[in-house]
């Protein structure tokens, strides 16, 4: 399944990309699965996701937890805790 991934703030800087479209392997069911797979793709991903639980995720513009299903997802975003306001 092709998925658009977008990155923000220091997650973007560590990954070295603003966005990319990836073909995830079968069995990648949740956001946590996706992160696990991304970390196998290179040091930059390992670095970006080194502290599990720090990087937040959103599916199609909605905040989600690591156990959220990727079913029907079009755009997955990864970013640090927010500091707006």
């Amino acid at each position: 399944m092709p998925l658009k991934l977008v990155y923000f703030a220091w997650v973007r800087e560590r990954v070295g990309k603003t966005e990319e479209t990836v073909e995830v392997p079968a069995g990648t069911a949740t956001v946590a699965d996706l992160v696990r797979w991304l970390k196998t793709r290179g040091e930059e991903y390992e670095y970006a996701f080194e502290n599990e639980g720090v990087v937040r995720a959103a599916i199609d513009h909605t905040h989600v937890k690591p156990d959220a299903s990727l079913d029907g997802a079009r755009e997955i975003a990864f970013f640090p805790p927010m500091t707006g306001g």
């Binding site: 977008v6 923000f8 703030a9 220091w10 959103a58 513009h61 909605t62 905040h63 975003a77 970013f79 640090p80 805790p81 927010m82 500091t83 707006g84 306001g85």
Partner: protein
């Protein structure tokens, strides 16, 4: 009442935002504004740079706005969040709430700010006066604590006073 949510690079004008809320109606007894400004951090900050997630920023703030409208009887509601480079003393965010009574206007504005701080997809990075690009601003635990109080069962979320 149609709430207004805007994500923009440009500055905003508080007086005209209040005027827009009050236009043609006299049922608001209370208007609260919150303006978040860029501090100079004791003189060492040259600017803040605000990155955001276009699309999600509008969607997430819209959800928080809907939640606020469900909790308090508001007669007006505006949220403006800027992005881009912002210098010390300049505006970052504006929340305006109007209601018949003051408690609702105050609580809704505080609620919106607590949620924006921790849920709106914006990230601040510092640029320092000495020319170095400072780091990304870290999220504060106390902002999460501020958020939690809105889910406590004893929290007064209804208007109580005029």
């Amino acid at each position: 009442m149609i709430p207004s949510v805007r994500i923009q690079a440009e500055d905003f004008d508080i007086a005209s935002e209040i005027a827009a809320l009050s236009e043609g109606r006299a049922d608001s007894g209370a208007v609260v504004t919150f303006t978040g400004l860029c501090r100079d951090e004791g003189g060492r900050l040259q600017a803040l740079e605000l990155e955001h997630y276009p699309g999600m920023a509008e969607a997430e703030i819209g959800r928080v706005v809907d939640e606020a409208r469900g909790r308090w009887p508001l007669t007006g509601l505006t949220v403006i969040h800027r992005y881009g480079k912002i210098r010390p003393g300049q505006n970052i965010v504006l929340v305006v709430t109007a209601s018949a009574h003051r408690r609702a206007a105050f609580e809704a504005a505080e609620f919106l700010m607590d949620y924006l701080k921790t849920r709106a997809p914006f990230w601040k990075r510092e640029h320092l006066k000495d020319g170095t690009a400072g780091g990304w601003v870290e999220a504060k635990d106390e902002d999460d604590t501020a958020l939690e109080r809105w889910s406590r069962p004893d929290h007064p979320s209804r208007e109580s006073s005029g």
